[in-house]
Assembly symmetry: C2
Homo-oligomer: 93 residues x 2
DNA sequence: ACCGGTACTTAGTATTACATAATACCATAT
DNA sequence: ATATGGTATTATGTAATACTAAGTACCGGT
């Protein structure tokens, strides 16, 4: 979700749809919501509310400096963990 | 941990050491223990207690049929999730 | 007036992650 | 004997995370 938000401001409902398109077909809005709430709580995002012509107002998120740092930190951890897990996988019988 | 156990019977303390050697340097025994407890609770392992000459008895774990199935299921999920995450990573700016 | 799609929020449970500390066994050195 | 250090499991508690179901509300079209 941090990575998705990093590509440009977006909002919960749209994030849900993007995740579903990515293949996480059974992600529901509630799941995404708890994560956006966490991002807010941890001050990793800036928030802007904008009206929509086709529904209720949208709450747009963008990564702030801390959010970007957090994302970079995540990618570092991902590189480490995924390489270790793949190492295990490749040694599998 | 399922993968580590799948390579041959082993016990908590040894698993901790293996994980540390793998690079997860700050894994402590308590963390491993909660996971072995979960494996027991979910009936994914067979248990055999054997004496040790250099300390208290060891509780050896081996994967049972359900455990092996669970592991295979994990590798399937891993292939999916890691490919999706890497897809995101590679599109990163 | 209702319906379906859009959109956020609430509230709750179950699981997971992790740390700290306690207990106990054994060999070796003092 | 006893102190110590490595080996090994167990107990207990807290915080974070994952996930679901249901509720509220806004809007356009029939």
């Amino acid at each position: 979700m941090l990575e998705i938000i990093s590509r440009g401001e977006t909002y919960g409902y749209e994030i849900t749809q993007q995740l579903r398109q990515l293949g996480f077909t059974d992600v529901v809005e509630g799941t995404v919501y708890t994560i956006t709430m966490r991002l807010e709580k941890n001050n990793l995002v800036d928030i802007e509310k904008k009206p929509s012509t086709i529904g209720p107002p949208r709450k747009f998120y963008t990564l702030n400096t801390a959010g970007k740092a957090h994302l970079e930190n995540f990618w570092g951890k991902w590189a480490f963990v995924s390489s270790k897990v793949n190492e295990l996988k490749n040694k599998r019988r």
